[in-house]
Amino acid sequence: METINNLIYGFGICLQPANLFYCFTGVFVGTLVGVLPGIGTPGALALLIPITVQIRPESAVIMLCGIMYGAMYGGSTTSILVNIPGEAASVITCVDGYVMARKGRAGPALGISAMGSFIGGTLSICGLLLFAPALSSFALRFGPPEYFSLMVFSMAILIFISGESMIKGMIMSVLGIALGTIGLDPMVGVNRFTFNLPSLMDGVGLVQAVIGLFGVSEILISLETYVKRDIYETEIKGLLPTLQDWKDSIFPIFRSTGIGFFLGTIPGIGVVLPTFLSYGLEKRISKDPSKFGKGFIAGVAAPETANNAAAGGTLVPMLSLGIPTGASSAIVLGALMIYGVQPGPLLIKEAPQVFWGLVASLYIGNIMLLILNLPLIGLWVKLLKVPYYLLSVLILIFCLIGSYSINYSADDVIIMVVFGLIGYIAKKANFELSPMVFGLVLGPMLETALRRSLVISNGSFGIFFTRPISLVFIGITIIFFLWTVLYKKPTMVVDEG
């Protein structure tokens, strides 16, 4: 009953005209980002943070989360029509989606993708409602050692699943942590590695760093690699799937919702892995696996449902524990801190308008996306035809103005460009960028938790092994590490291909 009352309260917040506008803006921009290659969700989120600083925290979070799940919808459009995923979470959709488009069934592919996304997204909100408050109550038992172990665990998961080299992932996350130490020491207030630059006193700005890493570097790389975008010219008709399409898709949709949501709740997993797992599962349990890869509608429904369900799942640890699950949620988490809202177990109690407003907005946003996506597919296709040379320049100009407008400081622009170059070199050397963002966001929290733990234990690192919850997280991390070392030898990727 209390949950229903809270949800009604949340709808009261979300249905305010201003918040409806921000929700619409978020899902619209998200879809746009998903459709258009070149910036990605983290970069788009970072670009919009300076604008959101002027509005109320609940409105800002509604808009930022709208971008997160809106991009999941948009990514499928390019996967199906162009065979180029707008988002990493839509990579596997290309396999069957593009073949369907070539066979003249682009409409049902786009339709089932939107429907699956809607069902997955909506059901994952129910999961969020169920698990987030319970997890928050449980997390109240966490002290600094438990938080430290949980953060180490989530970083380890992200490193294990991202990229081809575990060592490179680890290096990037520790480099991110090291960059996070720049600025005032959180406990004794000493300036660290600031070189007396005023713009570094508050630390490396997350927004500038992310715009550089994900926005600028992507464009710089694209200047060297020409990707031809052939939009398959076909009349998109019959967006509503047939009865047979539904029969083939409905169970994959429900199974993928479960996979997406539960994997999404595990810190570090993110939204990409669930799409591959759900596709793999459907292929494995299918009566005729040979249909997959040849334009089978379940091959579109499963990953598209999974990525939206996972996007909902990622909000559970973010809102209830204050632990991000990937680069995008790390940025939203950083944004919450900028707004003065502390994510974690006390969020629901201390900022109910943010939590319940966001939950209600997820329902409304998913409906908006369904309405937005099906009739506006023609518009997205037209946007895909905008020449990339023009688009890339406009994105760079937005990056410049966006980073300047954070503090009205030219130093921020230079910091952004430096991070752009770091991202460019890292990508060319096959280093993943997400662990660095993760480290940058979690670094200060990790440091505070470690130092407090050591003060509590009088300098003994044994505290992480003697407290049960902490021991569980550390234990799983060690098992993961040993398993990877013993069974999956870390291989250094020498070539780009």
Binding site: I167, S392, L396, G420, L450, P490, E496
Partner: protein, 152 residues
């Protein structure tokens, strides 16, 4: 001949040494009372260990130089990076209009656009669009620089 990863590893070793040195200067403290340099020192140490592992693994693998891309920023990427840096250095003095106009113009030209009327049209349109969007609608105060008339 060192492979690309080995070179990166050596560079990272250098970075970790700087980090550790800076941390020691800040004061590492003791385990029961960690100082401001404690955590960055730990991070520097881990980077050093991981870099060494990377160098060792890289040495075991025969470097395939034909498949390795250079890491230096060259060509169009270098030109665009330069434009972005110049924008940061000049925006407050020269102003948003001039910097955005030239940045758009040069970057479009770097992208292979040769028609001057189109280049000028898009560059002016970008300046005006950004000004309306950011300055008028979002109330972001963009620097006018040398175009600041009448003490504004």
């Amino acid at each position: 001949m060192l492979g690309r990863d080995a070179k990166i590893g050596i560079f990272l070793l250098f970075i970790s040494a700087l980090l550790c040195y800076g941390s020691i200067r800040l004061g590492i403290g003791k385990a029961n009372a960690p100082g401001p340099g404690f955590f960055p020192f730990l991070a520097g140490l881990i980077i050093a260990i991981l870099s060494l592992v990377m160098i060792i693994f890289s040495a075991k693998e025969a470097p395939n130089h034909t498949q390795q891309k250079g890491l230096l920023v060259t060509g169009r990427a270098a030109l665009v990076s330069g434009v972005l840096l110049l924008f940061g250095l000049l925006v407050e003095k020269a102003g948003f209009f001039i910097c955005t106009f030239f940045a758009t113009l040069i970057m479009l030209r770097a992208n292979g656009i040769r028609k001057w009327p189109f280049l000028l049209f898009v560059s002016i349109l970008t300046c005006v669009g950004i000004f309306i969007g950011f300055n008028l609608l979002l109330k972001v105060r963009l620097p006018l620089g040398i175009l600041r008339f009448g003490g504004q």
